[in-house]
Amino acid sequence: MKLILSSGDITASDLPRVGGKALALASLAGAGFRVPAFLCLTADAYRAFVDGSGLRERILLELHRKDFKEMRWEEIWDCATRIRNLFLRKPWPASLEAVLQPALQERFGERPVVIRSSAPEEDAAESSFAGLHESYVNVRGTTAVLEHIRKVWASLWSDAALLYRQELGLDAGRSAMAVVVQELAEGDVSGVCFSQSPTEPSQAVVEGAYGLNQALVDGDVQPDRWILDRDFGRILAHAPAPRTRKLTATGQGIEFAELPDDLRGRAPLGQEEVLAVYELALRAERHFGRPQDLEWTLCGGGLHLLQSRPVTARAQAPAGDRRAWYLSLHRSFESLKELRRKIEGEQIPAMIRTAEALAGIDLGQLSEGELAAEIRRRWEINHHWANIYWVDFIPFAHGIRVFGQVYNDRLKPEDPYEFVNLLTATDLASLERNRLLEALADRVRERPGLADCLKAGDCHENAPEFRQAIEAFIERFGDLSCSVTGGTQCEGAARPLVRVLLAMAARPAGGGMAASQLPVAALTQRFMDSFPENRRSEAAELLDLARASYRLRDDDNIHLGRIESHLTAAVAEGRKRLDSDGIERPGRRELQAALEGLDFSSRMHPSPPAASPEGPVRPRQLTGQPAGPGLARGRARVVSRHADLEEFVHGEVLVCDAVDPNMTFVVPLASAVVERRGGMLIHGAIIAREYGIPCVTGVPEAATLIRSGDWLTVDGYLGIVTVGAGEL
């Protein structure tokens, strides 16, 4: 077993243990190319780590919680996060550390290095699906190098790698990863080069930018681009880029720096240098016998070859393959900040203004023709915002994950979701709505006469003040009836709200808002303290962004729900008029056409669940993700239709396919939440944590296997839902 190899020790037969990247580098170095010195930790070292630390079966248990086909991208991300945390926290097996530590120390000392993956089985696929595994630039000192090696190993199970597991041939029981630790050549200009263009075989492509080439590879800096003729080695075209910043190595890690004015106006490469890069790529092509995709850097006047692999066409995703879209959600801090400005500064205020303007229109006063036009207009408005929800709001939610990863890297907490505690102290719109509901329920509890008038529906006469308060609530948050049905069964009346208020009032006072008493201040302090003085403002900015991201994840649905309810109100008015009489009034046909032309299949509501399984097979214990700690017992209330929410009784367990923020008003009544849709950061989990009640998400077929009335025990620590009392 060879745990660590020098470049000169690697031969072709080592491919299975060093991977394609390390083998190519060794081959280039052996042929006299100027390649920064490196060591390779073989796949055997990976195996020694996971076996010696007991991680192998822990990873397998994580990966077998649930069939991958049933996992949403968020669940895959959660799975990868838990595995990553295991890698971060496990101490090094002493025998392995005793080999690696001195070898790394002797070779690199305090010199900065780059740490990259070199996965043996995955080379071809890896070049087709870039960015699946992590690499780290400018790591100094053996302790830091060892820590980053573990992060690279963990990225064997990154969400990206898990999404492309079939293409990668990723095998939970067998796969392993080699790691290249290479001296950092800190170039003034860096880039990539295709000795043959993937799209035009007669041409070659050189791309270059100031600074390190990590930014260029990640797409954060746009490079200048040159097209060359392969036959004559001439430059055919040069496309300059907007040059504003460059990536530099500072302390541990990398950061962006503003580009000085004189460099902004000057191309990063002169003509001679472009040709030198191309010549280097041609040499590499001759060496390997096929066109090469190169990473290079100009450092101290010399051209260094950082990496070389065969040119492959980027795989084309088949229709309906959303994986590339999921991965595009991995936004950088920089682009998230920009997105936040747009969402908070423009979009949310515009949504609020829109909803208010719609509320000001008295539908009853419109003629049939005007109403038809209004329905169409509202449908367009709703469609517009639903689209923005996908394009901007959902990607912004990635801010929570960016923060989570930084938090886990700094503090290595036992619970990989500890970071969520720092986000919960935010003011969610759904919580504000629930507080208002509580206040209304308190009034009903204190004055028994109010319950009677609610039941009788005569508060207009007997408690006009209370009636006004209810109307004000409906004006602001809707009548609570639209939520589960995707707007198809909105009532436009107070009945659902009345039912909920009565259920809340029937419960003892003070049982509601138990917003979790977590030591947020202490955790926040610990997070800030984990940064050196000069990086604390950056840390504070990241935390602030994550809080905004967390808040929006819930609030966007509330705002969207308001706009949607105005559409459904107009539709309800239209239907009412069509139903009320058969008289052929002007505009009636237009109204009919408007209603028939709308597609009400809703933007984010799931299709109705399949029928419960009949027959003798019954669940006893179902597993999902532990998304909110705690233990609770109660009767199940399976919510799949609007009427189910109205039936909700205090102490029941809310079981549903997917919790929408517009239905979380029943959560204060619930003893626990169980959801089919998975994820630690979904609405059900967020709101359950806010109320401190146990929550299990990602339970396959939860809403069909469990029946209303089933006796449930919800273990929010382990993610287990037990059905029945255990009678045999």
């Binding site: 079966e57 049933e70 339970v699 069909t704």
Partner: protein, 150 residues
């Protein structure tokens, strides 16, 4: 692995593939467990094993015919935690003889040819367990039950 759906094919496969089951009986409230070589019918309703009449298990069954059996695909390896399935069967046991035994014994010997002597020995009882409930555990903590009508 699908949570719901029909778990019967999985149960059938497990019962066909595994040879041994842990049998639980009791005497005066003292639990007792031992291994038996079993064969099951495809409809999952019956399971058979052979035992000398002099054994504790047989004696226990004379006092109380209720039994539990555990069949598992574990291989005593770490990977069992994510790979193995375990099946608990509840039912009642009774010795069978005559043509009913002959028919069942044929199937039993097909599965356990090395136990033919035991099946035919006059000192052994051929026991039929009528299964009432099957409880399947897979994916470490996923538990589904199948209740069979009597």
């Amino acid at each position: 692995m699908q949570a719901s759906g029909d778990i019967r094919p999985l149960l059938r496969e497990l019962l066909n593939r595994q040879r041994l089951a842990a049998l639980a009986t009791h005497r005066d409230g003292q639990p007792y467990a031992n291994l038996v070589a079993f064969a099951a019918t495809d409809d999952l309703r019956f399971l058979y094993f052979v035992t000398p009449r002099s054994t504790r298990k047989f004696s226990n069954l004379q006092g109380d015919c209720r039994v539990a059996l555990l069949v598992s695909s574990s291989r005593n390896q770490e990977a069992d935690f994510h790979e193995a399935a375990a099946l608990t069967l509840l039912g009642s046991a009774a010795e069978i003889t005559g043509p009913e035994k002959e028919a069942a014994a044929k199937r039993y010997i097909e599965k356990h040819p090395y136990l033919e002597d035991f099946v035919h020995a006059p000192t052994c009882a051929f026991v039929k367990v009528q299964v009432r409930t099957c409880i399947l555990v897979k994916n470490f903590q996923q538990v589904m039950e199948l209740h069979l009508a009597p």
